[in-house]
Assembly symmetry: T
Homo-oligomer: 142 residues x 12
């Protein structure tokens, strides 16, 4: 069972900038926990991060997987291209947001991804990725 | 660690009506799995279902708990009273939706709860409740 | 052939308050005519009125019927819960409004029920209920 | 008691085109039933169909009647001229729609007629015309 | 100096229907005054009325004139075809409304004609046509 | 002179939850002051609180009074049923809000009640109820 | 028969600034023609210009007249105070615009005055004032 | 305790124009009652009226006071300048409207003042000012 | 293979009015080229033009064809009747616009036809009709 | 005559993913047909595909051409940068969409490109590219 | 080179009210720096402040200048009269805002001035005026 | 004091394409002036241009600086990713636009950057960058 985890733009800065807002957990910490739980659950997980919309579309097209976990970050609200790539890939997909986007700016309330993913998990911090892994395991196990 | 799980209107019909749409899993099945996982995670969970907005507000006010899991169903889109009750209770709260509300009617895309809960999990079926239990465990364990 | 007739909030006041606006026909008068025509048409009709959204959802869930006539009154414009209950019941349903809602306030022009009922009859006064009974008879007779 | 029944554009195709969508009942079948029930109810009914907005306005102006039944079809959503003609005629008028317009495209949800007719009947198929005849009989009988 | 005066749909009913709303002045009375003042001002005026959008477009295309006075009535708010015909004719044009359209329904506040006519006169009753004649005389006299 | 005072959902929690936001004045304190001032002003006041929309409609229908003071709380923004009940009762009615709703979330800025009450008092805390009592006294004294 | 003519802000610049846009006719030229035609029609006309909203309200309140002609210029789109003053004065009032406001910026399409004046004349240049004088003469002559 | 009472545009006409709409109470009557109650409550009250937005801003800036009562009338809906002056003054402020603005034109439903005042009282006629005085007394007495 | 080409309102003026805007190509020139290319492609083409919405609906209903090319001109934005006729006919249909409607007025950006035609060609001048003929040939050739 | 053909994001997947939706024609098949018809028409055509907005802007800037054919796919609805690049290039440009975007999601109905291209062809499948080539040939041949 | 600097309503309070929000720099301080830099740059600068929209329009009309710097403050969002005066004056004009208006209330995001000024500088505090002086110097020096 | 200047998409074409619109000043000319003034002001300035959103985000993350000047060009209106990067960087930032975006298309009036930058300068051409440098110098000098 191959899982692709995609982190969108600026998530590479997690934990190193504005720690009082986003905490001190780095993307490396998150990725390590993702890999550990993947091991426990018997999932073969690949992780990808990019600040470029086109590069994320390329990665979605070119990385074979059985299910997909994506935190599109800023591209959530602006990228039809990533939406179309998720739809084209045709795999179960879970959209993760670290913060509760409904407590932020108005424009963050719309997600181009929401209409093509299987489900969303938001507002639960780093834990959201781990819950998404469990959900993938469940979906693929059916 | 006490957890209150609230099911909103019409969820009591799960599995008995329109099985081709919602599947054959009943609310009783869901509740049994919630109780089982609660046992595993050491959570003391109470479950409440009502078709009445006022009764749900009453339950939120009167049931002491450390965290809250709520699937407000139809009231998601129409109840400021339940929103206010969740805010007044002042506990970590997770909003669960069985289906992906972004694939349904336009009016189901807005949630009065979203602005006051800690996080949301949607589109992941019955599994959403179990992931929410794990998230509560994590939040309370911090 | 069992028919459930549901009257929404404040309809119990018909004929007793603001007679110059709503006329002097009481809900009892309407119900009597509904029962008389039901007799003529061979329909086994049950009538229910409540001011509570939750109680109406309960009644829709718990009253077995072959077809449904509902005047949701104020809940027309605010209740997704009643909409969902009508959809879950899965029976032919006719929405009745005594007055022409298009001649009233702007917010009365939208109906959450409209998308799930078979048809609507509005603006024809008490006669609307009787026409709805005939329509039910026709639909069930097919 | 003279009744004018007006069928709007494309209704002349009923039953001959797209039978899987609209059924095999032709406008002739509907008109025959309208005339039969008119006979039973003692109504002197005249039926008019046109694809032209101007011709419908002309007919409304030039056909003396005591009450009016109109299915404006596509002109429901675009014709202020027909609205004004109905208002000028100043007779009880009932707007009929064969299908439930709330289950169709967004633009079909607004009706220029709604503000000037006595009432509407929609979603009840051919039966809608017959119920409208009964309602006219009732209104004129008062 | 040839002037074309166009009266839109339902204006032929002026003075004969709803006299308490629109007064007892008939379209014939108005036309007579238009012809009288035209004589005084040395204008060669032709008057046209139709309930049909297409017939009004035809008339605008086929009636040679130096200036145009049009009361599009209901078509004010719905006819791009008449707008395009006025623009194609390329003559000075004055839009007249008998009543103040800003005191009526919301949808009467937008005019497709407004963007292509020289000017508008509204709310001044029958007098509006006579003022429009004077304005045409002035414009053509320059 | 009988006055009915209605407190809407979650107001029973005043002073016991989130004291740093809403202060430490409880609903009991408010009610006591209402009763004291009622005594001074010679008003026979009855107080009712409920979290249920239907129960508030029932109370409005069933409690005879000469004037009405209502803080609909969350139902301000969502309940057409309570609006209709106030209109049906047909008594002078004053809408009270403890906080200034224009300084809160966007959805709190619309009130279904505003169109049917005599007046509103908002943002003046507990004092709003006392001013409303004085206003009722004045209105009934005319 | 006393007529008050009010010119709004920046109209004092007519003919002296941007002559290629507004022509070389000055406000003095317009006023002279207004006075001349007033003489012919037997009207006792007073003319007032101000750039200040408050001063225009004052003038409307303090200048006795039988009818009112106002070109509110920029205040057309922003002044409820002038609207209220016109309504309070309770005299026939005609709103004049020199240019066709529908061919200009979007925000110039709404007029606070339109709902309280008798009629509007726009797009007919200086001639608009003269037509308005004739209309006043007609209205007062009734 | 100094109180500044500000009356906005056209309020000087109260009682002298349109008495059937606004009653026969003049602004002088209202002011007299304000001064009398001020005396009773031990408040040192200054009253100001102007039709000019700028003059009201000047008055707000230049009149020292402990609390402020303002009926901005037409400027409620159009003046950010008065809003900013109230905010700059930084005193408790109560917005008063004589009529219930929610029963009037759509544009009267928004208030630029609402976001910066302490509270609002509307729809209670002249009594609104007196209640506002009592509220000021209460606020300053804390 | 029969093709129906429909030209909407005012297109009969092409080349004779406003040549500096629309060029000097007349509808006759276009039709001649349509007939020539039809000959080359082996298509049996019938051409129809009308300024009347109703006449266009009649033509669509009464002209047997295998595919349809329509330039609805002004009716693009206002005619649900033509939309419904195209849908009822149930043939491949191509919508042609001579100019790029996205460079014109805002209201020209919506097309009632777009949802029921096979495809659109716009902004390519007279050539659009010829490309549409080729597309029909291709579609019918499959 | 040099033509640049640009394919936007995810078009490289045509024919290989979701064949039941998009058919089995691959981008290679389309490109081959484009090159064949280019040969026939004497056009020197270069084809470019990328999933990256920036790379498409670069290609538009750096590839000399006499005309441009672009299917911006998802970037149609989100890229002002590509719009600006097309405008800066200043060559005739034709926007092609394989499917009829008006039959898809609401957000696909707006095109940032539409305002700067010469024309659009949509809904005609692969044939759209070939028609666009013919149109370019025509435009350049003038 | 004459420069007119206009300060809008409430700016005269700068530095004396709410110093924790707006700092302690007074308008006098700002004006002194404006005069000093004007001296350095060889500009003959006149400064004007008023709380009255009409007075600002008067000043714009009556003060001869080669360029204009204006901070319209609250009138930014409500004054078409000042916009029209700036346009009539026909000089280079720079709009200055001390704070970043995009970080404040929604209604502060629209500027009537923006469409007629040469440019804007916002969010840069007092420095904005000085940069505007330099920009005027540059523009006039061309 | 390190300053990063970022030029967005298509700005590399300045001066070489459409010189009649954008003038003949190239980006190289602008950059040279930026470097010259930087020298004068003692600023250590780095300049970056890219057509790729992702590359701009990368540059913002990876280029250490004390303040930031950015002309996001087309990305102003579409990029949340660049907004988030500016916010993450946490340095004073000034948004520059060469033209006055309020005189262009509607969609150019919204800026995702506006909410996170310190200030904006627009409409002042190349001079805008130089003023921004001065503003940075001032801000960093505090």
């Amino acid at each position: 069972m191959k899982i692709l985890v995609v982190h969108g733009p600026n998530l590479n800065l997690l934990g190193t900038r504005e720690p009082d807002v986003y905490g001190r957990t780095t993307l490396q910490d998150i990725n390590q926990q993702i890999m550990e739980l993947s091991g426990e659950l018997g999932l073969d997980t690949v992780i990808f991060q990019s600040n470029s919309e086109g590069a994320i579309v390329d990665a979605l097209q070119n990385t074979p997987c059985d299910a997909l976990i994506i935190n599109p970050a800023a591209y959530t609200h602006t990228s039809v291209a990533i939406r179309d790539a998720i739809a084209a890939v045709g795999r179960p997909a879970i959209e993760v947001h670290i913060s509760n986007i409904h407590k932020r700016e108005e424009f963050r309330k719309t997600s181009y991804m929401a209409g093509v993913v299987t489900g969303q998990i938001s507002g639960l911090g780093m834990e959201g990725y781990l819950l998404a892994l469990r959900a993938c395991r469940k979906i693929l196990g059916r």
